[in-house]
C-alpha cells in the first residue's frame, strides 16, 4: 500500500502549493469570472441541510485519486471534545442530515458515539464508507451497527470490474469491496422495503468526466447483480476534483491543462447554481468550518466574517454566508454537475 503525499514529503502535500498551481493561468478563465458571467458571483449559501463532519484523515486505503490525501500514515483525527461540539451545534438546529466522512470515518474511535448521538437527535446519518473497512477484524460488527442505527451507507466503487477499481483504489480492493457489499446486502442494505439505503459512488478512473448518472447506474445494477449477486439503491457520479493526489496524477501524466480546460468548457450554470456548498456546512477534524470537504483539504476556511470553528457555531451567521470559491470549483460545475450526492443538474450544456 502506498504512502500519502504528506508521508512522501511531496510538494503537493501542501495546500498552498496546490492553490498556487490552480491559480496559475493555464488556458482556462478564472472560476470567479465564469461565475460572474453566469450571474452567480458572489455565491451565497441558501441554508444548511447537511452537516458534513470529516472525522479525520486516517484510512486503511491509499487511493490514487484521494482528495484528502488520506491513508494509514495519517494521524489527524477528530477528538471526542470536537465531536461533542458538533453534536451541540446540531442540537441547536433542525439540520436534517449528518454526513460523516474521512479518511475511513469508522476508524475514528468516536465514530459510533457520533452516530448514536446524531440518531438520538432524530437526524438522518450518512456513513461515507470505503467498503474494505467492513472486513477489518476490528470492524467485524460494523455492518450490524450501521444497520441497527439505520445509517445510510454511501460507498465508493468506481467500476464494476477489478482492473479499473484496483487501479484507483489499490490491488485487491475490488474483490474485498464485493465481499463487503455482500455483507451489507445480507443485513438488508440495498434491498427494497428494508429502509437500509446503500448508495454507490462512481468516479472516473482517469482524466475524464463521468457519464450520465442514470445511464451508468443501469450498467452498474445490471453488472453487479449478474456477476456478483450484489444489489444497491442509487449510483452517484462524482467528478474527480483537481486537487491533492488527483492533481498529482494530472500533472505527472501531462493531463492537467487538458483536464482543467475540459472542466471549464463544460461549465454548466444550472449545476453551478445547485452546488452542494450552498446547503452544506463542512467541519474539519479539528473543528474548523468550511464550505465543503474540498475547501477543507485546500485549507480554505469560511470567510467573509462567518464563524470559523464549530465552537462558535451560529446558524444566523452561516445560513446565507458568502461561499469561498477558487478554480478547483470547476470540478463541481462541469457537465451534469457533481456533489457528494452525485449529479446536480438534469441536463448538461
Amino acid at each position: 500500500m502506498g504512502q500519502s503525499l504528506k508521508a512522501q514529503g511531496r510538494p503537493l502535500a501542501s495546500a498552498a502549493e496546490q492553490l498556487r498551481i490552480l491559480s496559475t493561468p493555464n488556458g482556462f478563465p478564472p472560476f470567479e469570472r465564469t461565475m460572474a458571467e453566469a450571474n452567480l458571483f458572489p455565491l451565497h449559501a441558501t441554508g444548511i441541510t447537511v452537516l458534513q463532519i470529516n472525522v479525520g484523515k486516517l484510512c486503511n486505503q491509499t487511493c490514487a485519486h484521494c482528495h484528502v490525501d488520506a491513508g494509514p500514515d495519517r494521524k489527524e483525527i477528530m477528538s471526542r471534545e470536537t465531536a461533542e461540539l458538533c453534536i451541540r451545534a446540531l442540537a441547536q438546529t433542525d439540520i436534517p442530515v449528518v454526513d460523516i466522512t474521512g479518511g475511513a470515518p469508522e476508524l475514528n474511535p468516536h465514530f459510533r458515539w457520533l452516530v448514536g448521538q446524531a440518531r438520538a437527535l432524530g437526524r438522518h446519518v450518512i456513513d461515507r464508507c470505503n467498503l474494505t473497512v467492513l472486513l477489518l477484524p476490528s470492524q467485524a460488527d460494523l455492518a450490524e451497527f450501521l444497520a441497527n442505527h439505520k445509517v445510510e451507507v454511501i460507498a465508493s466503487l468506481p467500476y464494476f470490474r477489478a482492473a479499473q477499481t484496483d487501479a484507483q483504489r489499490g490491488l485487491g480492493v475490488f474483490d474485498k469491496s464485493i465481499e463487503a457489499l455482500r455483507k451489507l446486502n445480507a443485513f438488508g442494505y440495498g434491498k427494497e422495503g428494508t429502509g437500509l439505503l446503500l448508495n454507490l459512488v462512481y468516479n472516473p478512473v482517469g482524466a475524464f468526466l463521468p457519464p450520465k448518472q442514470e445511464a451508468i447506474e443501469k450498467q452498474f445494477k445490471r453488472e453487479l447483480e449478474r456477476q456478483f449477486g450484489v444489489v444497491f439503491n442509487r449510483l452517484y457520479t462524482i467528478t474527480n476534483m483537481p486537487i491533492s493526489r488527483f492533481l498529482e496524477f494530472l500533472l505527472a501524466s501531462g493531463n492537467y491543462e487538458g483536464y482543467m480546460q475540459r472542466l471549464a468548457n463544460a461549465f454548466n450554470p444550472a449545476a453551478a447554481a445547485a452546488v452542494m456548498c450552498r446547503y452544506t456546512l463542512s467541519v474539519g477534524w479539528d473543528g474548523t468550518l468550511y464550505d465543503c470537504d474540498f475547501n477543507q483539504m485546500l485549507e480554505l476556511p469560511l470567510g467573509n466574517g462567518a464563524p470559523q470553528h464549530i465552537r462558535d457555531f451560529d446558524p444566523a451567521k452561516l445560513h446565507t454566508r458568502r461561499i469561498v470559491t477558487a478554480n478547483h470549483c470547476y470540478g463541481c460545475t462541469a457537465g451534469a454537475g457533481s456533489s457528494c450526492s452525485g449529479a446536480t443538474a438534469k441536463t448538461s450544456p
Binding site: A163, P204, G206, F208, L209, P210, P211, K212, A215
Partner: protein
C-alpha cells in the same frame, strides 16, 4: 517536427462554421441528433463512432471518441473489441476483393 495534424486543432473544429454558418449549424444539429440516446444508447453510439474513427483513420476522431467512450462508462476491453470490429471489416474488405483477383487471374490463365 512539422505535421499536418495538431492535437490542439481538434478544439478549433467550430471554426469551420465561420465559412458558412448555416451549413455548420445544420451539420451540428444533425450530428448532435445522431449521437443522442435513441434506439441505441449514447454509450453504444460512442463505441460505434470509435470503431468508425479507426476505419477512417481520423486521429481527431480517435482522440475524441476514446475520451467519449471512457466518459460514457466503457472500458478498455470493450473499446479494444470495437477497434477489432473496424480491423476485421477493413481486413475483410481487402480480402473479399481477392475474389476479383481470382476472377481476373482465372480469365487470363490457361
Amino acid at each position: 517536427m512539422e505535421t499536418y495534424y495538431h492535437p490542439q486543432d481538434l478544439n478549433k473544429f467550430a471554426e469551420m462554421g465561420k465559412g458558412n454558418p448555416e451549413l455548420w449549424e445544420k451539420f451540428l444539429a444533425y450530428y448532435n441528433a445522431v449521437f443522442a440516446e435513441g434506439a441505441l444508447t449514447e454509450r453504444e453510439k460512442a463505441l460505434i463512432a470509435l470503431a468508425v474513427a479507426h476505419a477512417v483513420q481520423c486521429p481527431y476522431c480517435i482522440d475524441a471518441y476514446t475520451q467519449a467512450c471512457l466518459q460514457q462508462g466503457s472500458n478498455l476491453e470493450e473499446m479494444t473489441e470495437a477497434v477489432h470490429v473496424a480491423c476485421a471489416i477493413r481486413g475483410g474488405a481487402a480480402l473479399v476483393h481477392g475474389v476479383q483477383m481470382r476472377n481476373v487471374a482465372q480469365k487470363l490463365s490457361m
